[in-house]
């Protein structure tokens, strides 16, 4: 059922209930009035019939005539056994009243004064022992009018409620519909390709605004992802095509030169090397994509971080030493958290690998004017501590570092700050670390180690 249909049904039910309430009120009012009158009449009738039973003949006639003269509101009619009128202020026996003590409503003609005309009355009649009939009645025209005016008021109130309710209902649903329309318009525009489009907000903070806000946040995320995807595909185009081209050229070159078998063999070896490079890049890309899809949740177990760091340091210590860098463990705390050991290990290894490749001191032309320290020893310090319920893994070098403006970019896929690309690498190392961090609900930060780069991997415990 549509929102409009639902509110219309609600309004209809409300109308019916209101009408029933008002009708009931009027009916009950009328009933109470009549019942009250009837009770008084019965009492009076008992008194009058008692007169007939105890007093001399003619007493009833006199009494009735006497009372009737004094009033217009109280109505009487006394007839003899032959139907002739003996006394009373009613002109005739009201035909609406059945004989024999039954009460009821009737109309009578009232001739006197400005109120002349047909008037309503309630009365009862009895057959007297002598054969005559006595009618005792009350003029209820005023009560009638009162009830009628109440009924009119009720009708007017109902009409007002109905019109007002209907109007408000239509207004509310039209406002809602307009909002829904504007939202679906915006959605259609976005679907049509205007990806930077957002749902309109009224700024009132109502349900629609809250909904639109959530959708907008989702759209931002989607746009980010799409942007990332586009960038990745552009980069894939570049970073896979270049080595693919290189591979092809090497194969072609060795084919063309067609020298000795040894030359051909060397050429093919080069070709395979180039293929391996492509595979490596491809694997790294796939892994990042899977991490970002969050597809590795199930493989998390409780692991102690210190051994993971120690293992990585142990693996890289000889490489670092050969590169003239001292790789050592700084402050190490005891931290256990739920994580994928292999991924954390790979992240730490990537950070160390980067520090060894790019954190070397002996490149004065790339230090961008930063004063080099007196001790020329290149160092990489690994540390692990626990801060505010988060594990902080730090890999800090004292090399040239990354300028503040480049730090964010360094974590993007395929970005290699080393313009010459003279050092081996896929340009995916830090992106992978960042993806691992995000998968574990943490983040990767690149900071200034003054001098050097400090890569900080933050993981919630």
């Amino acid at each position: 059922m549509s929102a409009f249909g639902l509110s219309a049904a609600g309004v209809a039910v409300y109308f019916i209930l209101t009408a029933a309430l008002l009708a009931g009120l009027v009916w009950q009012l009328n009933r109470v009035f009549v019942a009250d009158v009837m009770e008084t009449l019965s009492a009076e009738m008992r008194t009058l019939t008692a007169i007939e039973n105890t007093a001399e003949p003619g007493a009833m006639e006199r009494t009735v005539a006497g009372i009737a003269r004094q009033t217009n509101k109280r109505l009487y009619f006394l007839s003899a056994s032959d139907g002739r009128k003996l006394a009373g202020n009613l002109a005739e026996f009201p035909p609406e009243l059945a004989a024999g003590g039954a009460g009821g409503l009737f109309t009578y003609a009232f001739e006197k004064g400005p109120q002349a005309g047909e008037r309503n009355a309630a009365g009862i009649s009895v057959s007297l022992a002598g054969g005559g009939k006595l009618v005792v009645a009350r003029d209820i025209e005023d009560q009638r009018r009162f009830v009628a005016s109440i009924r009119l008021l009720a009708l007017a109130a109902f009409a007002l409620i109905a019109i007002g309710g209907l109007g408000l209902g239509i207004l509310a649903s039209r406002t809602a519909l307009r909002r829904v329309e504007s939202i679906s318009d915006a959605t259609r525009r976005i679907m049509a390709g205007e990806f930077s489009g957002r749902l309109p907000l009224q700024g009132s903070g109502d349900e629609f605004d809250r909904l639109s806000n959530s959708v907008n946040e989702m759209l931002v995320r989607i746009e980010d992802l799409m942007h990332g995807l586009k960038e990745v595909s552009d980069n894939i185009a570049h970073d896979l095509k270049t080595p693919l081209n290189r591979l092809r050229q090497r194969a072609e070159a060795s084919l063309r030169s067609a020298g000795t078998a040894d030359e051909l063999r060397a050429g093919l070896g080069d070709t395979i090397e180039a293929a391996d490079e492509i595979i490596k890049t491809f694997n790294a890309l796939l892994l990042i994509a899977r991490l970002e899809a969050g597809a590795v949740e199930e493989t998390k177990t409780a692991i102690a971080l210190a051994p993971v760091l120690a293992d990585a340091a142990e693996l890289y210590e000889p490489v670092a030493e050969e590169a003239g860098i001292r790789l050592f463990m700084g402050e190490i705390c005891n931290v256990t958290l739920s994580a994928n050991r292999h991924l954390i290990g790979q992240a730490v290894v990537n950070l160390i690998d980067n520090a060894i490749k790019y954190g070397r001191q002996s490149e004065p032309e790339t230090t961008s004017g930063r004063a080099r320290r007196d001790d020329r020893e290149s160092r990489i310090e690994l540390s692990l501590c626990l801060e505010h319920g988060r594990a902080i893994i730090t890999v800090a070098d004292n090399g040239p570092g990354i300028s503040a403006s480049d730090r964010k970019r360094a974590m993007e896929r395929f970005v290699r700050l080393d313009k010459s690309r003279s050092l081996p690498g896929t340009g995916l190392g830090l992106s992978l670390v960042a993806a691992v961090a995000r998968l574990h609900g943490g983040e990767l930060r690149l900071e200034d180690n003054e001098p050097g780069l400090r890569a900080v991997l933050i993981l919630p415990v």
């Binding site: 796939l286 597809a295 493989t299 293992d311 490749k357």
Partner: protein, 225 residues
């Protein structure tokens, strides 16, 4: 060695059969899971090479069925799915080793040879001997020509793995997986540096080197050149 290749890609399978033959092994080929399972039940193979995604019956089901029937032939799982959790699933199903496509043939050959129980006598021995190099697995003592050699714990494990597979080519990835328990390729060739450190302790002072580099494949520990 007698090998069975269960692989649905004809080109891959043909290449493997030919290459393995050139390496001195005989290989049979089944193109789908059902016929592969039948062949594996009948023949006495030393190692099975099973692709994960197969028509009729997938590779992991083939392995599970064989293991349920009590067939303990070593299995090398070949798969295009290479993530850690895929690996874990492959090994849980009863696979003994897991190799991700695309792979280098040298890597595959080294792993197949390492898997064959017949050719790994070193697994159960408490003393590994190659030439005049002796490694005692109980006391963790290493000596060459009677001279004791002091090794770091990781160097010891590296040598132990190499000697366990004496005469077989061991790839860098195998070392990384088995000695360091890392299932990814570090960017720089870190393994080489570790091996060269080990070499300096094992071979430097001696005339005849025992740790040899196999170009394009990895390392091998053996007496002869």
């Amino acid at each position: 060695m007698r090998l069975l290749i269960i692989e649905d890609d004809t080109e891959t399978a043909t290449f493997l059969v030919k290459a393995l033959k050139e390496s001195g092994h005989t290989a049979e080929w089944a193109a789908d899971g059902v016929s592969g399972l039948e062949l594996a039940r009948e023949g006495a193979f030393d190692v099975l090479l099973v692709d994960r995604m197969l028509p009729e019956l997938d590779g992991l089901s083939v392995i599970q069925t064989l293991r349920k029937e009590g067939n303990q032939t070593p299995v090398l799982v070949l798969s295009a799915l290479g993530e850690v959790d895929d690996r874990v699933r492959g090994l849980k199903a009863g696979g003994d080793d897991y190799l991700t496509k695309p792979y280098a043939y040298a890597e595959l050959l080294a792993r197949v040879e390492a898997l064959s129980r017949r050719s790994v006598p070193g697994e159960q021995q408490t003393r590994l001997v190659v030439g005049d190099l002796v490694l005692d697995r109980l006391s963790h003592a290493v000596a060459r020509g009677g001279e004791p050699i002091t090794l770091q714990p990781r160097e010891y494990r590296l040598l132990e793995y190499l000697m366990k597979h004496a005469g077989q080519v061991v790839t860098r990835t195998m070392l990384l997986e088995n000695v360091w328990d890392y299932h990814f390729d570090p960017q720089t060739n870190v393994i080489d540096v570790h091996v060269s450190r080990l070499r300096s302790k094992i071979d430097k002072a001696f005339e005849k080197p025992l740790i040899h580099t196999v170009r394009g494949a990895g390392y091998v520990v053996r007496e002869s050149e």
